[in-house]
């Protein structure tokens, strides 16, 4: 019997058992659909995080207070208060440094605008922040040198923060909001960068570092210094320059370890892509389990089907079917069920990828990789699920099979 004949036979058989076929296929449909959707979400997450990090600034080097430990993990940011505004000024004098933004952070500030309020974090910084961290304003202006010099109580808000205050970028310009009880005048709103989660660059408040220092922290220690380079190829050189400079300024003994650490954008990207790849693989794993369960369902149905059709198998053997004809019949049937489920599953998966991504806040689209992987796994599952029942069927003794009630 050719595969084409086996296919015809399988289709006739499946048509006469439509309900069972549909129920059997459901497992595969769910497995394949979740594979497609979760891979789409996984890749969407990866793309979103990557572009988010790229959006944080180009050629960026962050100098953080506190020592890096072996293995690249560092203590909580700001756990050591070793960086100063003067350090930032000194770094700005180095070769290959384009701009330097000292960053003084205050977390959990409450911003109140009329009856609306939101909790966010505030960064006290200088106009260079816009250059270093790649911010553009959509309305108003960013901080100016004058604002910093005079320590004015002015603020630039991120678009998400503005939305949280139930207002619009144009409406809030010139308004006075209170930040942890202290009034600030809003002078600008930044362009959205896209992003979500704990480090959303759009949920932010920027104020002159002088104002933050006098009103909030009272100290001159910085959490980070953002450094942008004139040439990304000089990264290693600038890093060594900064290390030497800060060690000198902090008067560290030769044997002492650094009391600061540096992270470049490249390093952040590679860490993030490793993390998101792990997340993606985890999602694929979950979907794969669903598919395997679907495959077990198919194997089970096929075994029941073989048992129900013992007489038919005996009859087919009597009229000339060889073992391989019988096994092919059942194998093709299992593969057809699985592939049918795969087709439906892919369609559903493609349809739900966007909505699933939206619920977790990630722009997700179905990927060719996901669809291909889902299809190939379904085919594999079908062959594996059909193999054992087909073998059972083909090895039935014809005499026993014909006697079977």
């Amino acid at each position: 019997m050719t595969y084409l004949e086996a296919l015809r036979l399988a289709l006739r058989r499946l048509r006469t058992n439509l309900l069972r076929t549909a129920l059997t296929t459901l497992g595969v449909i769910i497995g394949v659909a979740s594979l497609v959707a979760l891979i789409g979400v996984g890749e969407g997450t990866q793309a979103a995080i990557t572009s988010q990090i790229a959006g944080l600034g180009t050629n960026l080097l962050s100098v953080n207070a506190g020592a890096a430990t072996v293995g690249g993990l560092r203590g909580a940011a700001g756990s050591a208060s070793t960086l100063t505004i003067a350090d930032a000024g000194a770094i700005g004098q180095l070769d290959g440094v384009e701009a330097v933004a000292p960053e003084m952070s205050v977390s959990n500030v409450v911003v109140v605008n009329g009856r609306s309020n939101t909790t966010t974090s505030m960064t006290g910084t200088t106009p260079a922040e816009a250059k270093v961290r790649n911010y553009q304003v959509q309305t108003g202006t960013f901080l100016t040198d004058l604002d910093v010099e005079k320590g004015l109580r002015v603020a630039v808000l991120g678009p998400t923060t503005v939305t949280s205050l139930n207002t619009t970028p144009t409406a809030i310009i010139g308004q006075t909001v209170t930040i942890s009880g202290i009034p600030f005048t809003v002078i600008g709103v930044t362009q959205p960068k896209g992003g979500s989660g704990f480090t959303n660059p759009d949920d932010a408040v920027f104020a002159p570092i002088t104002a933050v220092q006098s009103r909030f922290t009272g100290a001159s220690s910085l959490r980070t210094i953002g450094v942008s380079l004139t040439d990304p190829d000089q990264l290693a050189y600038v890093e060594s320059e900064i290390t030497a400079l800060l060690r000198y300024r902090h008067q560290l003994a030769t044997s002492a370890s650094d009391d600061f650490s540096m992270v470049s954008q490249d390093q952040l990207l590679s860490v993030a892509s490793t993390t998101t790849a792990t997340i993606r693989n985890f999602l694929i794993g979950i979907a794969a389990i669903a598919l395997v369960v679907g495959g077990i369902g198919i194997a089970n149905t096929m075994l029941v089907s073989v048992r129900e059709r013992v007489r038919e198998i005996g009859t087919r053997k009597a009229i000339g079917a060889r073992r391989r004809d019988i096994s092919r019949q059942f194998l093709v049937e299992a593969v057809i069920v699985t592939l049918g489920g795969a087709v439906v599953g892919v369609l559903i998966g493609v349809a739900i990828t966007g909505p699933v991504g939206a619920t977790v806040g990630v722009p997700a689209t179905p990927t060719l990789f996901g669809i291909t992987l889902a299809f190939c796994s379904a085919l594999l599952v079908g062959v594996l699920a059909g193999w054992w029942p087909a073998r059972q069927a083909s090895r039935l003794d014809p005499v026993e099979a014909l006697r079977h009630e």
Binding site: E5, R12, K317, A318, I319, G320, L402
Partner: protein
């Protein structure tokens, strides 16, 4: 093996020599057949009778190449079937043997036509020719108008006629029928019985297991199986009639096959398989 340059005399279609079939049953063994010798020539009409459990079904399974004897030799068209592997046996069943079962054994969910054409699928016949030949076979059993019915929509008699069409469609040398009228009412039995007799008279070899006295009466020869052995069927008080209704002694040598038996089935299994060229064993 015979020298292929010398044309051998036509061997009997079926020949059993000392056939036994022993089934293991736990620690002991049960002998279903205990040494059977017989020959069936091409075109013969043979009935196998005997009480339940006598071994006649086992015998039919061996004749039909569904089972192998434990000891003894079974020759089909002169070929020792012990030398054939399972695929070869399947091929022989497909081309040379047609089965008819007591419970019809049609596949539900497939139309009468598809059921009849099923053996041709395994024979590798193209779809178009399959349909034509299946329709011919259905016409032969008078069911042209039922071709697209599911077996469940047919009466018992019609189902058995579909099964007969399925057995005929490969133009086999022999039809093995296991109680073909056992599940039918008397009217349908008569139809099926008449049909089988007609086919036999056209040249088919017919071997029937039966309790139906009429079939046994009409058979040219009766093999009586009792307790796994052939016994003299001419028990006192039983008269067997030949095809013309004349008294006939079934213990005598087999009747000569009707002339043209092979000609009527030019594509019947043996020639098609080239069994006379000796390439199988």
């Amino acid at each position: 093996m015979a020298d292929p340059t010398v044309a051998p005399a036509q061997p009997p279609l079926i020949e059993g020599r000392g056939l036994t079939r022993i089934y293991p049953m736990g620690d002991s063994e049960v002998a279903a057949l205990r040494g059977i010798d017989f020959r069936i020539e091409l075109g013969e009409n043979v009935a196998i009778i005997g009480p339940s459990g006598s071994g006649k079904s086992t015998l039919l399974h061996i004749l039909g190449l569904l089972d192998r004897p434990t000891t003894g030799q079974y020759l089909f068209a002169g070929v020792d079937t012990d030398t054939l592997d399972d695929d070869r046996l399947a091929l022989l069943r497909n081309r040379a043997i047609g089965f008819i079962f007591q419970s019809f054994n049609l596949v539900s969910g497939e139309s009468a036509l598809e059921n009849v054409a099923a053996p041709l699928v395994y024979a590798g016949v193209k779809r178009k020719e399959r349909v034509e030949r299946a329709q011919e076979a259905l016409a032969r059993v008078g069911l042209t108008d039922r071709a697209h019915h599911d077996p469940s929509q047919l009466s018992g008699g019609q189902r058995q006629r579909v099964a007969i069409a399925r057995a005929l469609v490969t133009r086999p040398a022999v039809i093995l029928a296991d109680e073909p009228t056992g599940n039918l009412d008397s009217r349908s039995s008569a139809d099926v019985f008449t049909l089988l007799q007609e086919l036999q008279s056209e040249g088919l070899t017919l071997v029937t297991i039966t309790h139906d006295q009429r079939i046994a009466d009409r058979a040219a020869r009766v093999l009586r199986v009792e307790d796994g052995m052939l016994v003299d069927p001419a028990a006192p008080g039983v008269t067997y009639l030949d095809g013309g209704g004349r008294p006939h002694d079934p213990t005598t040598a087999p009747v000569t096959p009707p002339s043209g038996a092979v000609v009527a089935h030019p594509e019947s299994g043996l020639a098609a398989l080239g069994f006379d060229s000796g390439d199988v064993s």
